[in-house]
Symmetry: C2
Subunit: 291 residues, 2 copies
């Protein structure tokens, strides 16, 4: 039996947890490795910490979670997570998590944890695309090359890029990466952390580079895995009025569908590859402005 919280999740986000009457409280100090390049809370950190709290509060694995990004905590801040069980069934729990810094709301998560039901339906209704394995894939940095090596988000995770064959592209803008948090299995929390990539997937849909700000992240989880590497198959579906929607499939190296999700983002800055220097300067200037 898995025990909760999972050690891998606490290695990623070092939560101090304390049981309450109807859930659990968590807190952690926001380190740069859990931030975006500008020192703001990376959305993936919020969904990961929320998932860990939901599982710890109920001693059961996460089934799905949606995290709504409300405001941006800054590096060095102490994030407090209040996790409440709003419905407790024989097997299924419905939970809500709010993340605050000094009383100000940073994010809200809603989701379920659930114990498996004996004889319950099990199945996978689609196959993984055929791609090169992580050992044969190109190292990839998911941001402007000038920021590589900073001690931010991109330092806690590793990415390698692969291409889909033409007949396996579900959308024009498919964007496929191997990803891992080195040394840790891809738990639901870690999958949520790695999968927070919608803006890039939408930009790819438009044949561009760049990105923007996630408004939310929604993940649905399949079977547990011991694998570190997962394949993130991302698709930008559409954009309207400056806002883009994308989806993600998470695959284990041996083809098990480990998760599935959707995300919406405010696509604030996209650009052609040739204009990267200019775009980077603009992005630095804009960071931190609200819209």
């Amino acid at each position: 039996m898995t025990s909760f919280p999972r050690a891998a999740d606490l290695a990623l986000v070092p939560l101090e947890l304390e049981a309450t009457d109807n859930g659990i409280n968590g807190r952690f100090e926001l380190e740069m490795r859990l931030c975006r390049p500008d020192g703001g809370l990376f959305g993936g950190t919020a969904i990961a910490a929320s998932t860990t709290c939901m599982e710890a509060a109920t001693n059961a694995p996460a089934v799905w979670i949606t995290t709504q990004y409300v405001s941006t905590a800054r590096v060095g801040g102490v994030i407090e997570l209040d996790t409440r069980i709003v419905a407790r069934g024989k097997r299924i729990n419905q939970l809500q998590v709010t993340g605050h810094v000094g009383g100000e709301l940073m994010f809200t998560s809603v989701g379920s944890t659930a114990l498996p039901r004996e004889g319950g339906i099990e199945g996978q209704y689609q196959a993984m695309p055929t791609v090169a394995g992580p050992d044969n894939a190109a190292d990839f940095f998911p941001g402007p090359p000038q920021l590589r090596g900073d001690s931010n988000f991109f330092g806690a995770a590793e990415f390698r890029s692969v291409e889909l064959a033409e007949d396996e592209k579900r959308t024009k803008g498919s964007f496929v990466l191997w990803a891992r948090v080195s040394g840790q299995p891809a738990t639901p929390a870690i999958i949520g952390y790695l999968a927070d990539m919608s803006p890039t997937a939408v930009a790819r849909g438009a044949g561009k580079m760049g990105g923007g700000t996630s408004l939310d992240n929604s993940m649905r989880f399949g079977p547990d895995t011991q694998s570190e590497w997962v394949l993130m198959e991302m698709h930008g579906h559409l954009a309207v009025g400056g806002y883009g929607h994308s989806s993600i499939h998470i695959w284990s190296p041996d083809g098990v569908l480990l998760g599935y999700g959707g995300q919406t983002s405010n696509i604030r800055h996209i650009f052609d590859e040739a204009d990267m220097e200019k775009a980077l300067a603009e992005m630095r200037q804009r960071m931190g402005t609200s819209e």
Copy 2:
């Protein structure tokens, strides 16, 4: 300019709305046409009412919403929706909606509304599958035939069934319907209402009939449409321990991607078509039990 609340949405769910300091309050009496066959609140009604409240509170169109189903309101109950704007930006608003009956929590929604940004990214990165139009599609009833004609959910909406060509099936269990609320354009709220079908899509993935109970519904919205009919392209992705995950694409008849979503459900009763009578009797017996 669209004005909010949209008339089509109030025709579906007759909300009384009252502005508050930081949002809006809504209330409606739960009629049988907005219920499941057993007289419980249909999940689609909850996401539709939440979407309408979010738009009315901010005078802006919904971009995405996730509704978490916590408890089941019963026909005749008065549902009160408390809608709070938790972040208000120049264009983007983050909102939370809770639905109560007599002080007891029934559902929680989180989501965003947003005004389009001039010059913001616009695009659609995949094409609609080729299927027969609604006039050439078979009438479809999304439940046991014995329940047809009851004055429940299935009376407020119309469905017609079409098949995907083999090379356009994204998953084994694709399940494709034309759907409409007759006389109304497919607004975001109406799309959310129609799209609450995950359990059936997952059962189809397993080659079965039947369904279960939705735990949530998450929808992301594209451009506005004046079309009544929409094509709902649904896919069951995977099931584990009795819980299933599915996704949905919503298309206009002329191929515009109007929305995209994901949903998780507790698949409690699936069966082979030949066992429908027995399964129906069991389902009636089980309805209303919690798990």
